[in-house]
């Protein structure tokens, strides 16, 4: 069974997803916005897996959750890298 905190985290993440969707036109002006959104996408996936593992395929979904988290962190790192690099080129 899923935990209460996991459900709250998922709902908040969904709320943030809505915020991102609503401001997509502005976000598209941000530097390397694609990587930021992909990172968030993986983060959202990990949250969904966390909740779903309480119902079925506990082990597989748990692994998927952590793999998504890794990918989210990796893409976020790449975005951080590009953030400075883009600025540097911009000079």
């Amino acid at each position: 069974m899923f935990e209460e905190s996991e459900l709250i985290a998922l709902l908040i993440t969904l709320g943030v997803s809505f915020f991102l969707w609503a401001t997509r036109k502005i976000i598209m002006n941000l530097p390397s916005y694609q990587f930021l959104l992909i990172s968030f996408g993986f983060y959202l996936a990990s949250k969904i897996c966390t909740v779903l593992e309480g119902f079925f395929w506990e082990s597989a979904l748990n692994s998927l959750e952590h793999i998504s988290a890794i990918l989210s962190c990796a893409v976020f790192f790449w975005w951080c890298l590009r953030l400075g690099a883009k600025k540097e080129t911009g000079r």
């Binding site: 985290a9 709320g15 988290a69 962190c73 990796a74 790192f77 600025k87």
Partner: protein, 471 residues
């Protein structure tokens, strides 16, 4: 080892790398603080969550689970904060860049830029304005624009600016102002900015120091007046002198005629007395001298007549009307019929467009041109003269083309000079005034004349005159 522990370790590795790279960018001042801080908080929170997970799954500290839960809840919120901060920062950057761009334009502008409120007080003055008046921006802001206008111009400028509150909400004026560089003349173009309800919000204006231009205009005006006065003086001088020369000339010719008659009578008396043979050589000398006096006086009379004619062109009154060129050309040719027949030439005329000009003067122009064309035909070939014309862009262009003796290119301009003759000793008599009169008349009629010709290959005179207005 538990696989979850391994996966969390990898995540922690990437988060640490992210933190590290952000720190490097920050130290290199490549990212601003307002972007750096939310990103770092987000990463730290993420790090906290993963470490909690790691410790929990490795069995070191299972009770840390609640920190992981807290991190899970706060992480998306911080992510949203991060994105929001970035958006704000981006917009601020764009505003700063835009302001820098326009500030650069305004600061380096030599024209004067001002913004006034609806009452005419300064809201903004460009650095160029401050420089010109030798004042600081803070001293001018809030002060009335009219304070910088010379007192004698203020009432007029106030009235001029009143129309800024009426459509089309623009006005242009110039005024004098006491500046750091002395008295200068400024030219302004003002426009009112309105709100949605049509109420005046502000007035923006661009000004320029036109002192040098105004001085140049005044100089030019003075010069023109002087030139006109000189021209009038010259015209009246020519007219008066040529007119006054007429009466002594008439006397000379008259008394020369008297002397000739007396000579004839003396000759008759001497013949009756049988003394003629003795005096004959003396009388021949007297007769020859009288002949030279008479022919010289006649030539002078022709020149004076020409000068009088030329001087009258400057003062003539024009009656502008539609001149039907086909009819006019027919009557000119009829008038020149004797010369045409004598020269044995053929004249052809195309359908000519009417022009807007003075009938009498246009008649004079084409009479002179055709007369010249007939006079200067080549005796070695049958003379042909063709007149054609067309209207183009509000201008009528007429061409008088002949197959006469032609004009060498170096004489193309000289032939329009007064008393200029190409061949003074040639068989054609004249004083070199015909084409000078033509040019004078065309100058007066806003027309032009030019010639295309080569020596021995005929000539083409191109005359332009204003076309009949469309209305």
């Amino acid at each position: 080892m538990n696989p979850i522990v391994g996966l969390n370790t990898v995540s922690i590795f990437f988060i640490t790398l992210s933190l590290g790279i952000l720190l490097v960018w920050k130290l290199q001042k490549l990212i601003p603080t307002d972007l750096f801080l939310p990103a770092v908080f987000f990463l730290l929170l993420s790090l906290l969550g993963h470490i909690s997970n790691l410790l929990e799954w490795s069995g070191v500290a299972p009770y840390l689970d609640r920190y992981g839960d807290l991190s899970d809840i706060l992480q998306p919120i911080l992510f949203a904060v991060l994105v929001y901060t970035m958006i704000q920062h981006r917009q601020w950057e764009q505003i700063v860049a835009s302001e820098a761009k326009y500030r650069l334009l305004v600061d380096n502008q030599s024209d004067l830029i001002t913004k006034l409120d609806a009452k005419g007080n300064f809201l903004f003055v460009s650095p160029s304005y401050c420089r010109l008046f030798g004042k600081y921006e803070k001293d001018l802001l809030g002060r009335p624009f009219l304070e910088e206008v010379l007192p004698e111009d203020r009432t007029r400028i106030r009235q001029e600016m009143d129309i800024l509150y009426l459509p089309p909400y623009t006005c242009r004026f110039r005024h004098s102002a006491q500046t750091k560089y002395g008295l200068r003349v400024l030219s302004w173009s003002y426009r009112t900015l309105l709100n949605e309800k049509g109420k005046a919000l502000a007035i923006v204006g661009i000004g320029r120091d036109i002192t040098n231009q105004v001085q140049a205009e005044q100089e030019r005006e003075k010069m023109l007046q002087r030139l006109e006065a000189k021209n009038r003086e010259l015209q009246s001088l020519v007219y008066i002198s040529s007119h006054d020369l007429q009466s002594p000339l008439v006397n000379i010719r008259g008394f020369a005629g008297e002397l000739k008659t007396t000579c004839e009578q003396v000759k008759k008396v001497l013949k009756e007395c049988g003394q003629y043979e003795r005096i004959a050589p003396l009388l021949k000398d007297v007769e020859q001298s009288l002949y030279f006096i008479d022919s010289g006086a006649e030539k002078m009379q022709t020149l004076i007549d020409g000068l009088l004619k030329l001087s009258r062109i400057g003062s003539m009154e024009l009656t502008l009307q539609t001149v039907h060129m086909n009819g006019l050309m027919r009557s000119i040719i009829e008038g020149l019929q004797y010369q045409i027949q004598k020269a044995g030439c053929e004249i052809t005329v195309d359908n000519l467009p009417p022009c807007h000009s003075d009938l009498y003067q246009v008649n004079q122009v084409f009479t002179n041109l055709l007369d010249n064309a007939v006079k200067f035909l080549d005796p070695s070939r049958p003379g042909k003269i063709h007149v054609t014309g067309q209207e183009r862009n509000g201008v009528c262009e007429y061409r008088v083309i002949d197959n006469g003796i032609g004009i060498a290119p170096e004489h193309h301009e000289k032939i329009f000079e007064i008393f200029h003759r190409l061949n003074p000793d040639g068989p054609v008599k004249g004083i070199g005034l015909g084409l000078a009169i033509v040019r004078r008349i065309l100058d007066k009629l806003d027309g032009t004349i030019r010639v295309i010709s080569e020596d021995g290959r005929g000539a083409e005179f191109i005359v332009t005159l204003p076309a009949v207005p469309a209305s």
